[in-house]
């Protein structure tokens, strides 16, 4: 059996960390798009559509991410759709992210005063115009810090994808441990890498929060 140096461990983990970053980014971008669509439906005011979106959000907030991944990974083949671990992980995390972002952004939209809706309405704007020119630009400013903050949850959430066999940082850690029998060293390195991805995001969120205190008009 060959010897593993610390550098071998770190190098292999770094390779796998690329997948963690890619999975996080994909889930975040796709989840953001789906979340924005759901937000529009949620605020447009059709009571049935609103209830549906609320149910969707409750479902994903009320179940563990792991179960969501299991259901996507093992459920889709049952209806004849075979999914690779990558697709399953991406799909599961996208659904999870979209539900949380919808809820975060809904709070931001609702924090915009009724007066803004009424003023724009009395100028003859329709819902789409109100959202585009009046509500979303203001809500966006408020939404940036909690959204960046939530991205940290998404990055950490990708670790769960290791259980369905997707080789990202955590899964790579397990595989290397099985070869090196040095779990503390390996998982220590894994933890440091997660931290190096997440901590700058947290810092950035805090920085934005401080900045927005001045902008809040």
């Amino acid at each position: 059996m060959s010897e593993f140096s610390l550098w071998d461990i770190v190098y292999n983990l770094l390779l796998a960390a690329r997948w963690t970053v890619l999975l996080s980014l994909t889930a975040f971008v796709l989840g953001g798009i789906v979340g924005l669509l759901l937000l529009m439906v949620r605020t447009a005011g059709n009571p049935w559509a609103m209830r549906l979106v609320r149910g969707y959000v409750e479902l994903f907030q009320g179940t563990p991410l792991l179960m969501q991944l299991f259901i996507v990974f093992f459920g889709l083949p049952l209806i004849g759709i075979d999914v690779s671990p990558w697709i399953a992980a991406m799909l599961g995390l996208t659904l999870f992210t979209s539900a949380f972002l919808t809820e975060i952004w809904r709070g931001c939209v609702e924090s915009i005063g009724l007066g803004q809706w009424e003023a724009s309405a009395s100028l003859g704007m329709n819902f789409r115009q109100q959202m585009r020119y009046i509500i979303l630009p203001q809500a966006l400013r408020i939404a940036v810090p909690p959204t960046v903050g939530f991205s940290v949850q998404v990055v950490k959430g990708t670790a769960v994808a290791s259980i369905i066999g997707f080789v990202e940082l955590t899964k790579a850690g397990t595989m290397i441990t099985n070869a090196t029998y040095a779990p503390f060293t390996v998982y220590g390195c894994v933890a440091v890498m997660y931290f190096l991805i997440c901590f700058p995001l947290s810092l950035y969120a805090r920085h934005l929060e401080g900045k927005l205190r001045h902008v809040a008009r």
Binding site: G113, A121, S122, L123, G124
Partner: protein
């Protein structure tokens, strides 16, 4: 034909009936003040005229056309009816100029240059030609309210609704806003205002409408209404002000 005709308007918030059958005609060029105690339904009545409150019963005709409850009807209605609010409600993320330019561009599809011309004209009219690049939070309350008036005027409405436009202002800022409203009245703009400024209402308006418990209790020319109130409610309202 009147510019705006309200017929048998009923409006309830849950169990509470706030408008109990209102008939009101607003003629072109008329300046009308709605007065009355708080809770008498005057603000609600004003808000029904541009569809911010949906009515439970009755009809609203603007420029001879009945306003239905379809969304497009309401949007068309609002092209004819502008509104200025107690709390100004300027868009905080746009400058004064952009606040005024936005709706003509977005709703009326005017070109940027065209909208800018109109906006500059309107801002000059309310005495804010030198504040166009300021954001709302850089303006005083009185200045913000004047931008709000310019913003409503830029849509070239046929009637302008003013909902207690000076109530949120510091006393020393009230007059600059009233001066603008007075100027509009003199230029022949059709105005409907809810106001607590009785002296102003008396001087500027053609007609006072006194509301009491969800009904139009009494209405008429200002001098009559103030000098010879016919009902004890109006007498006590007018007396309470003196």
């Amino acid at each position: 034909m009147s510019l705006v005709e309200l017929h048998a308007i009923h409006k309830s918030f849950g169990e509470l009936e706030v408008l109990k059958g209102i008939d009101l005609k607003i003629e072109e060029g008329q300046v009308i003040a709605l007065i009355g105690k708080s809770g008498s339904g005057k603000s609600t009545l004003l808000r029904t005229i541009n569809g911010l409150e949906t009515i439970n019963d009755g009809t609203i005709m603007v420029a001879g056309k009945k306003v239905g409850d379809r969304d497009t009807d309401v949007l068309t209605l609002r092209l004819n009816v502008g509104m200025v609010f107690q709390q100004f409600n300027l868009f905080p993320h746009y400058t004064a100029l952009e606040n005024v330019m936005l709706s003509p561009q977005v709703v009326k599809k005017q070109s940027k240059a065209e909208a800018k011309d109109v906006a500059e004209e309107m801002l000059a009219k309310v005495g804010l030609a030198d504040k166009m690049m300021h954001y709302p939070d850089q303006l005083s309350g009185g200045q913000q309210q004047r931008v709000a008036i310019a913003r409503a005027l830029a849509m070239k409405p046929r009637v302008l609704l003013c909902d207690e436009v000076t109530s949120a202002l510091d006393p020393e800022l009230v007059n600059e806003v009233l001066a603008v409203v007075r100027q509009l009245a003199e230029e022949g703009m059709t105005l409907v205002m809810v106001t607590h400024e009785m002296r102003f209402a008396r001087e500027v308006c053609d007609k006072l409408v006194f509301m009491h418990q969800g009904r139009i209790h009494e209405s008429g020319a200002p001098e009559d209404v103030f000098a010879n109130p016919k009902t004890p409610e109006l007498a006590s309202f007018v007396g309470g002000l003196a």
